[in-house]
Symmetry: C2
Subunit: 398 residues, 2 copies
Amino acid sequence: MINPQTLKGFRDFLPIEAKKRQYVINILKKVFESYGFEPLETPALEYEEILLGKYGDEGDKLMYRFEDNGKRKVALRYDQTVPLARVVAQYQNELSMPFKRYQIQNVWRADNTQKGRFREFLQCDIDTVGTSSPLSDAEIIEIAASSLKALGFKNFKIFINDRKLLSNISIKALTILDKIDKIGEEEAIRELEKAGESRDLINQAKGFETSERLKEIKKIAIKLGVAANNIEFKPTLVRGLDYYTGVIFEIEIDGYDAGSVCGGGRFDNLIGLFAGKQIPAVGCAFGFDRLIETMEELKLFPTDLQRTKVLVTVFSPELLDESIKACEILNANNINQELYIDENAKMEKQLKYADRRQIPYVLIIGPNEAKNSTVTFKNLKTREQKTLPLNQALPLFK
Amino acid sequence: MINPQTLKGFRDFLPIEAKKRQYVINILKKVFESYGFEPLETPALEYEEILLGKYGDEGDKLMYRFEDNGKRKVALRYDQTVPLARVVAQYQNELSMPFKRYQIQNVWRADNTQKGRFREFLQCDIDTVGTSSPLSDAEIIEIAASSLKALGFKNFKIFINDRKLLSNISIKALTILDKIDKIGEEEAIRELEKAGESRDLINQAKGFETSERLKEIKKIAIKLGVAANNIEFKPTLVRGLDYYTGVIFEIEIDGYDAGSVCGGGRFDNLIGLFAGKQIPAVGCAFGFDRLIETMEELKLFPTDLQRTKVLVTVFSPELLDESIKACEILNANNINQELYIDENAKMEKQLKYADRRQIPYVLIIGPNEAKNSTVTFKNLKTREQKTLPLNQALPLFK
């Protein structure tokens, strides 16, 4: 016998979880599409040279890399931004610019699995490629906000900053600034001094004033529908150290302190690595697992993601036809039904199945019901039971 | 500069293709869910021992295998049936049986890339686990047929056979029988003789009569709604050599001779390899790429998968507010609109963008329109253009 187990950091999503994920994905897709964003899919495997060196040393270390059967050096998708950059360069003549695409696929990182980090997780990205307009920056922020609203979030804060404001600060110091919220100011000062940087850097950064560009973006975002008090300039926001060149932002949900659920910014130089010329871009990614976790905490999932309303049981193989007929009638009346799939199963087992699946009603057609052209239906919550002609029962299922 | 390229056998799906794929996936999901099937997701990577030896020598050879950073021997998902078997064994107490699940994820095979074969491709599976009832066999067949009908296919044939009928034939001979349709009878006879098998085997197999079980399954499938003349007993149907133990079936589309678009059967022993006890199961998988290809050939895709009806252009940064207001009005009237995302772009560029994206209408608000509270809209197909108040234009976009 083979031991059935999943790899550390990898997850199976059984139906209850998988349905929640689909619920979130469907809402996000709908919002993205309503702004004219279109789907893109890229392969799980890329030539390793496409991905290496784009995510810093840490990224190269955490990347899943191997040699395939043809001795090609390949790597598993690490994010969706670098593949987007490759796609834009590769199909420049086929894509209509500005290119607005969304992408919802898994990425893989051989990360430490503590603290709710996983080695396979879903990313949801939107990016607008081919324009450096402040309108495109503002739209990304507005879509991020709309998406959160569509998922049911009411109170959140969008922190924005401009990477250009940070251009005189060393990467070492930025790394420390980036952690202020996590480690606290005192510890940040200690680390700065240890790194030979000025302890005044924090106050200096805090004193930065917003840039003209940020003001413009914020103004347009508000015009597009973002509530003014939802956007806040945060001069110490750094957002990693990789490819951002302009506006950067992160969204935090009020009362959820496990980090941001969405983050993004402008990256005008990344695509050039593949295209040989500058192609500006702006976008953001949702942290899917954090979204799910926060929605659980705030009880934002509908209580009933169970689609089937009625389980039509099978009393005996001889009465299977009666049950099939009932299914057809329910179906014709747009009542979501499901036929129990074993004509020899005991009724008790069938009722237990409905219970576990959280199907609200069961329908039973035994010999008496068949003779009298009636059905017995049972409400599994109230345990109420009635026997009557099916057409009279129909309104009760709605 | 890094050369932007995809690995051989791997594909990017740009929006036009990606939208077709989503269209098919959405229809399949809807059908599967209408029968009470629920989603399952499993990881892309598994311990290699979970997958090895389940698909024959060929499978082991084509599997993507490597050592991860923690020296674990891992393999990329090769199909969705073995992961299902693992899941059922691993979560026996959490799953409600019968367990009806669908799974739509990519699989990876380092196959020869000739003949439209890909190294990454999507599989769409449905399986019912935990019952050996003929009703469950028949339902899988009926769902396969319903799915094809929902996609727009009208004429197809479901070939069925019973693996038990073939139990006295050697694996070597079965491999040859399996290829009859491809290589022809003469060549099959030659190969049989070369393999030391009787040339009569073909006639013998052809002479097999359907089993009682098959008759029962066919009877129920017809009751469930499958047209009787769509199901045909095919005594030479073998369907690979792996885990099937009972009914097997394949569906071919009339007029499309590149092979079956769906196939499946009963596999009562596979899950036992992981569970240590027999758990019966039946299911099928759709060949997603073949479905797409056939649908293209038969023109079954809607002509317009473009969601955006109106591109709202931006005449100048000063008039951006007017365009945003128009978007809001269109939106409030449930007309799918999209704001052009660069407030400095020339109008010509904006119109060209709408054209390439196949957006049917554009809306222009220049200084005159703004002054007179009107809009100019243009039908990009007919090139007709009208200037009038927006509320009078609304019905034209529907």
